[in-house]
């Protein structure tokens, strides 16, 4: 027996959107960590998703209906993500969930969306090795971020790699890929180090860096540790003259928390930067700043959060219904002119074609793009297109 009052309460208080009960709205779930350690990254993504929802509503909604976001807090805890996903699907009966950041949160939601035949759009680059029929992956697969970055580094920066990551799934798996790739290319792995999540003392790591003298550090540290690492690296007097750090989890938002002064000259690999020069982006950045303040910055996961809402909306329009199976089918091949360049949903694995971009950090905290893939790269979460990776994806 469903209690209707409860449902109304849930939606009514969320995000300040007044709901007129009835058939002419579509409820969508927005599930990110608003508290706990992941809040610092995820709140901005939520903001971008809400922005997209507003835009769609302003343009007349989806199928003529307004979208009503139901916002939930995943509290940086995977079981909470799983609980709230179940709540959104069972209780609020949302048409789709936009949410998650860490792989742990995605893995927690995965069985829930599968069992309830729901839809999840996930906005963050991740380690691959997954393709659930109920999830659309708007972030980069490894071949859209890591692999091209390593190729570029080998060509431009040197062959002595130091792999540094936080001790969890994404860095471990990313580094396996990198190691295979290095071996394939005859490059050298000088050291591989992991630090616990939230680690803040990098003295010892820096000593190791000094000893092993890499030309490249491939950095898969998680948010907060990046701050400590880069500050301490700079204090130790190690500059871009000595080596280059390539990061895959440092975007504009993180740069502000680290301080551009210590990052200048280091690199990152993403599919989007605030400085990416497309007409869609100029508008997106302007709208985002207008909505949330001039001092805010955009970044890759923010952009992914933004465009994936639009992708879903287009898929619903194409399907003519919010029914999950119909939307899933209709989504294949859907394209959208995202701020980071055109994106397209892949039919094989429900990931997204994206342009790969390598950027150098500037003194103002923005990126200067030094390379891009030209066209959108096909996602390959299992790295099936790379022989050298066969040992990793082997079942």
């Amino acid at each position: 027996a469903e209690t209707s009052t409860e449902t109304e309460e849930d939606t009514g208080t969320d995000a300040g959107v007044e709901v007129e009960a009835g058939e002419d709205v579509i409820k969508v779930g927005v599930l990110h960590s608003l508290s706990g350690t992941m809040a610092m990254s995820e709140t901005s993504v939520r903001d971008a998703e809400l922005l997209a929802i507003e835009e769609i509503n302003a343009a007349g909604g989806v199928l003529g209906k307004q979208l009503v976001p139901v916002i939930e807090d995943g509290a940086s805890e995977p079981p909470v993500f799983s609980e709230r996903a179940a709540k959104l699907l069972q209780q609020d009966e949302v048409a789709v969930i936009f949410g998650g950041w860490t792989s742990a949160s995605r893995k927690a939601m995965l069985p829930v969306v599968e069992q309830n035949n729901g839809l999840l759009f996930y906005p963050v680059q991740y380690e691959g090795m997954e393709a659930s029929p109920n999830i659309f992956y708007a972030g980069a697969a490894p071949n859209q971020q890591i692999v091209p970055a390593v190729d570029w580094l080998l060509e431009n920066k040197g062959t002595d790699f130091f792999l540094l990551g936080s001790d969890y799934v994404f860095p471990r798996l990313a580094n396996q890929i990198i190691k295979a790739q290095l071996e394939e290319n005859g490059a050298t792995l000088v050291d591989e180090q992991y630090t616990p999540l939230g680690h803040t003392d990098y003295n010892t790591i820096i000593s190791r860096i000094r000893e092993s003298k890499p030309t490249v550090i491939f950095n898969t540290l998680n948010g907060d540790s990046n701050v400590a690492f880069f500050k301490q690296l700079a204090d130790a007097g190690i500059t871009t003259d000595d080596l280059t750090v390539m990061s895959v989890s440092v975007a504009e938002e993180e740069i502000r928390g680290i301080g551009a002064d210590v990052l200048e000259g280091h690199l990152a690999s993403w599919n989007y930067y605030q400085t990416t020069d497309t007409p869609a982006n100029a508008e997106f950045v302007a709208n985002y700043k207008e909505a949330y303040g001039d001092d805010r910055v955009t970044g890759d996961p923010i952009e992914a959060g933004y465009f994936m809402v639009h992708l879903w909306a287009k898929a619903v329009e194409a399907a003519g219904t919010t029914d999950v199976d119909a939307v899933r089918e209709a989504a294949v091949g859907i394209e959208f002119d995202a701020p980071g360049g055109p994106v397209k949903v892949d039919g094989d694995n429900q990931h997204v074609y994206k342009t790969v971009r390598i950027g150098e950090i500037q003194a103002d905290g923005q990126f200067n793009e030094v390379w891009n893939s030209g066209e959108a790269v096909k996602p390959d979460p299992y790295l099936e297109g790379y022989d050298w990776a066969s040992g990793i994806s082997a079942e």
């Binding site: 027996a1 469903e2 209690t3 309460e9 849930d10 208080t13 969320d14 608003l34 508290s35 916002i71 939930e72 807090d73 509290a75 940086s76 805890e77 995977p78 079981p79 799983s82 609980e83 709230r84 179940a86 709540k87 069972q90 209780q91 860490t102 792989s103 742990a104 893995k107 927690a108 995965l110 069985p111 829930v112 069992q115 309830n116 090795m129 001790d167 969890y168 799934v169 471990r172 798996l173 396996q176 992991y194 616990p196 999540l197 040992g391 990793i392 082997a394 079942e395």
Partner: protein, 364 residues
């Protein structure tokens, strides 16, 4: 003269009332809510053990997340073996492990998983606590140490991800002992199993605390050294009660994972471990029933606030903790006692919570 309402506030009647409510509630709320309630019941089981340890024996553990986690992980390992398609779970494949490690294999049998989920925490707790208590590490030293233990354990779990699933935890189960996890009937069944476990654990612990053994626990809390000079080897009592509470935590973890479908390190870390203690405090330590109510109410409130006010719920939660601890040191149960006293019964009762927790007892 004792009025009916006063009688209802007796602890045992309170418990009976609670159980009746828990038994019939699923007929009135959605499956989703029932499932949530089932999780809270798992927590309620856990806090009974914590209350034995803290409320009665005065040993504050901020490390029960570990034992909860052990039970949960063992059951999760079993469920994930039940559901896996290949020879090993996915995450092992990525880490280049092709054969099930022995400590996984032994839990592939459901019976051994259930026994393991309870016994492994007990055994580990008894070994650990034997060394800690034997050397008279106590009070805040013990408490801080347990907190550090949590940190180490989660760090270990995360860093040994090829065996443990790392930060992702273990998830993705489809069946449980052959029943489909997504079926509402299975979920209801698990709910009632949880209620049943709550009853059994509660009764056993009630009998325990009302026996001479229970008095010994209180004596340890209030004057451990004095008790030693009365001929008791208090450290062994503490080892026993610590292990028992760890076993209960393991059981709770097992029930939790069956209903939630995931266990990951964040669930057993420092903050969840502290929250468990808060449930005890909010309900009223040293009363058994209080913590049970505290766990269910606090978690319901937490869910309610965080669903309704995702941006503000931490303020609520923080304030509730502060206010309860300051103004209601005996927890919700002291409120019940107050009402009861007004209800006509002027019995003088002990309130263990207003005692001063001086670190030096008279003979220390």
């Amino acid at each position: 003269m004792q009025t009916i309402s006063a009688r209802l506030l007796e602890r045992k009647w309170l418990f009976v009332a609670l159980i009746i409510i828990l038994l019939i509630l699923p007929f009135f709320i959605s499956d989703f809510r029932t499932n949530l309630l089932g999780r809270y019941i798992a927590f309620a089981i856990l806090v009974i053990g914590l209350d034995l340890l803290w409320g009665y024996t005065g040993v504050l553990s901020l490390g029960h997340g570990i034992f909860f986690g052990l039970g949960a992980y063992i059951m999760a390992m079993h469920l994930s073996m039940e559901s896996m398609t290949g020879a090993v779970p996915d995450f092992m494949t990525w880490n280049g492990i092709t054969e099930l490690p022995w400590f996984w294999a032994i839990f592939s049998n459901p019976i051994s998983a259930i026994i393991g989920a309870i016994m492994v925490p007990m055994i580990i707790a008894s070994i650990l606590s034997f060394f800690i208590f034997r050397n008279r590490i106590r009070d805040v030293y013990f408490t801080i140490l347990t907190q550090a233990l949590v940190l180490v354990t989660t760090t270990l779990i995360v860093s040994q991800q090829s065996f443990t699933g790392g930060t992702n935890g273990i998830t993705g189960f489809s069946t449980i002992f052959g029943y489909s996890l997504s079926s509402p009937a299975t979920q209801k069944g698990l709910y009632y199993i949880s209620v049943g476990s709550l009853i059994v654990v509660f009764l056993i612990c009630s009998i325990l605390v009302n026996s001479r053994f229970g008095k010994t626990l209180i004596a340890i809390r209030d004057g451990e050294n004095r008790l030693r000079f009365s001929g008791y080897d208090t450290s062994m009592f503490k080892v026993l009660i610590f292990s028992l509470s760890a076993g209960i935590a393991g059981l709770a973890g097992m029930l939790f994972v069956m209903q939630v479908g995931i266990i990951s390190p964040t669930m057993i870390g420092i903050i969840p471990s502290i929250e468990m203690i808060l449930w005890v405090a909010i309900g009223g330590r040293g009363t058994l029933i209080g913590p049970v109510i505290g766990a269910i109410l606090t978690n319901s409130a937490k869910t309610f606030f965080s669903e309704s006010y995702p941006d503000f719920w931490l303020y609520f939660l923080g304030l509730v903790f502060v206010i309860i601890v300051i103004f209601l040191p005996g927890g919700l149960m002291s409120l019940v006692d107050k009402v009861k006293r007004r209800g006509g019964k002027h019995e003088k009762r002990k309130e263990p919570t207003d005692r001063k927790e001086t670190s030096h007892s008279a003979v220390g």
